[in-house]
């Protein structure tokens, strides 16, 4: 026989039980405390970190989206403002032009009217002057004629009568 036919592994052996207990308890306390615990904690911490980072990113993305919306809204508002301003400006322009036109027209009208009045006045003045001049000239002429013709009294009286008649006719 080479070896004993002995299925020894099934027999609980006090020595092996003792050493296994000792070694496993050491394994449990040493590796459990010095390795498994810190590893578990590190993994948990990393998971929290990753979750936090993801949450943060999601938050940032949401914020970005909000910001974009806000920007768009502002842009739209600005665009509307611009259109409004342009329209207002154009309105103002038309108004100003129209006003100016009206004013100009009025002014022109006034000026024309003034001119007309002036012209009338001038005309009247001119007519008066002409009348005066003509009157003076007529008087002068009449004087001269009279001086010459009315050398006799008869003639003078006749002539005066004639004149008086004329004046009356006028």
């Amino acid at each position: 026989m080479l070896y004993l036919v002995d299925f020894s592994v099934i027999k609980p052996d006090l020595g092996l039980i003792f050493w296994t207990t000792l070694i496993f308890l050491l394994f449990w306390f040493l590796i459990g405390k010095l390795a498994f615990k810190p590893i578990g904690e590190a993994l948990k911490k990393r998971e929290t970190d990753i979750q936090d980072a993801l949450d943060e990113a999601a938050k940032a993305r949401a914020e970005m989206e909000n910001l974009n919306l806000e920007n768009e809204r502002l842009l739209a508002e600005a665009r509307a403002e611009r259109t409004k301003m342009l329209k207002e400006a154009s309105d103002t322009k038309t108004e100003i032009i129209n006003e100016a036109k009206d004013k100009a027209r009025e002014e022109a009208k006034k000026m024309i009217e003034n001119a007309k009045v002036e012209i009338e006045n001038q005309k009247n003045a001119a007519i008066v002057e002409v009348k005066n001049k003509v009157g003076a000239m007529a008087i002068e002429i009449a004087e001269k004629v009279l001086k010459k013709e009315l050398s006799s009294d008869n003639a003078q009286t006749g002539y005066v009568n004639q004149l008086v008649d004329d004046i009356k006719l006028n």
Binding site: L4, V5, F7, V9, G15, I23, F24, I31, G32, K37
Partner: protein, 434 residues
């Protein structure tokens, strides 16, 4: 999860069948088995003339007649007081205690065994001898103490009181034969052991393997823990990256589903169980590295199961005990059936843990050794070269297949032990709301 469970179940079944068959052989007369294999039957007890039983020797010639794959398998899965790396035998510290001899502490090289042999010592030391790697003690107190050169060993068949066949080693010294005892075991004679004249507290092959694995695991996991501190906020790297998925798998698939927010408290225990078992399962599978069958020793699985039992029941809440002794919401007559069943369950659960791991790993080792033995069986122990070549080819294929399965079993059994322990603890700490 379901597929995984099914797979485990199938593997368990296969392993159990393999184990069961082998066990059957060992249960009848082991020699019928040999006779069957060798095709001759002059191996029976009576007709055994001129066999090795009658010669005192250290070197037993292996012949086609006495070759037994079962013996080889049982020898290789057994614990030993030498550490064998391939054919090389390294001495280990022996710590022995006997009632009459007290404590003995010495290196097993005192037995003067061959460095390239099978661990059979040429010396007796303080009445202890070494036979096939295992220390035995000469019962006769008249045998001289100290280191004594012996003439050889003899293996004799004896029938015990309960009618079981037993092999006993005798030491030949000074023309006389001295009977020896195997070390004490705690099976109470159930498996052929029992209390004898001495206890063996040696640093055996299994203990050495456990120390090596524990040191290795300590270094690896300390390194990883440090890496997590050093590389805080960085991606895992190297061995850290290798272990992390395994660690996370156990945490997320084993601990959290059963324990929820209490996971952290039991995490070191379950992780220790898982990695201790896994590392030893794998360590025992490396060829030419001792092949220590640690997790295939009932003593080891017993310790692990007892610890699982203690952790489970010491953390048992009021609800757990109530569910065992007085299940709420069940008619009284059912309780009379349920309570004994539940109470037995408290002990059956760790017992199944112990047996499952032990049977699976031992079965794996036995099957691998039997497959390797095919070379010798077909080669008729070196007398038939052609048969040996054929056996070697077949054996390589079968062993390769078996080792692949064993690799899987190593993981599955570690996982199953961890997940079942967690589920027992989970049931113990659960708080019910009725």
């Amino acid at each position: 999860m379901d597929i995984r469970r099914l797979f485990t179940l199938v593997l368990l079944l296969l392993a159990t069948i393999a184990f069961g068959q082998d066990h059957d052989h060992s249960d009848h007369d082991g020699h019928d088995h040999d006779a069957e294999l060798q095709g001759d039957d002059h191996h029976k007890e009576g007709g055994f003339a001129g066999g090795h039983h009658d010669i005192c020797t250290f070197h037993h010639e292996v012949t086609p007649e006495n070759f037994s794959a079962q013996q080889i398998a049982f020898h290789h899965i057994a614990d030993a007081n030498v550490y064998s790396i391939g054919p090389l035998q390294l001495p280990l510290p022996a710590i022995l205690w006997s009632k009459d001899g007290g404590l003995d502490f010495f290196l097993s090289s005192k037995f003067d065994f061959d460095r390239l042999g099978h661990g059979t010592g040429h010396n007796a030391h303080n009445r202890y001898i070494m036979d096939g790697g295992a220390i035995r003690r000469i019962t006769d107190p008249s045998f001289p103490d100290g280191t004594v050169e012996i003439d050889g060993l003899k293996h004799k068949h004896e029938t015990t009181e309960d009618g079981k066949d037993k092999e006993v080693t005798y030491v030949c010294y000074d023309g006389k034969e001295y009977r020896t005892d195997a070390e004490s075991t705690l099976d109470g004679g159930m498996f052929g052991g029992g209390l004898t004249s001495f206890h063996d507290f040696s640093i055996t092959k299994n203990v050495t393997a456990m120390i090596i694995v524990t040191l290795l695991m300590f270094l690896v996991f300390r390194h990883i823990a440090k890496k997590y501190k050093e590389r805080d906020g960085k991606a895992p790297h190297g061995v850290q990256g290798f272990m992390e998925p395994i660690f996370l798998f156990i945490r997320d698939e084993v601990l959290v589903p059963f324990l929820g927010d209490k996971s952290d408290r039991y995490m070191p225990f379950i992780m220790s169980l898982f990695f201790f078992i896994l590392a030893l399962n794998l360590f025992g599978q490396v060829p030419f590295l001792g092949g220590a069958n640690v997790t295939g020793s009932l003593s080891v699985t017993l310790v692990l199961a007892v610890l699982a039992f203690l952790v489970t029941n010491l953390s048992g809440k009021k609800d757990y005990w109530q569910h065992i002794f007085w299940m709420p919401g069940v008619p009284a007559w059912v309780k009379t059936i349920l309570t004994p069943v539940e109470f037995l369950g408290v002990f059956i659960k760790p017992i199944t843990l112990m047996l499952r791991l032990f049977a699976n790993i031992t079965a794996g080792h036995i099957v691998v050794i039997i497959f390797v033995s095919l070379i010798f069986i077909f080669g008729n122990v070196g007398t038939n070269i052609g048969g040996a070549i054929g056996g070697a080819i077949g054996s390589t294929v079968l062993t390769l297949f078996m080792m692949a399965i064993e690799l899987l079993v190593a993981f599955i059994q570690a996982f199953v032990f961890a997940i079942l322990t967690t589920s027992y603890i989970g049931a113990a700490v659960e708080e019910h709301h009725h």
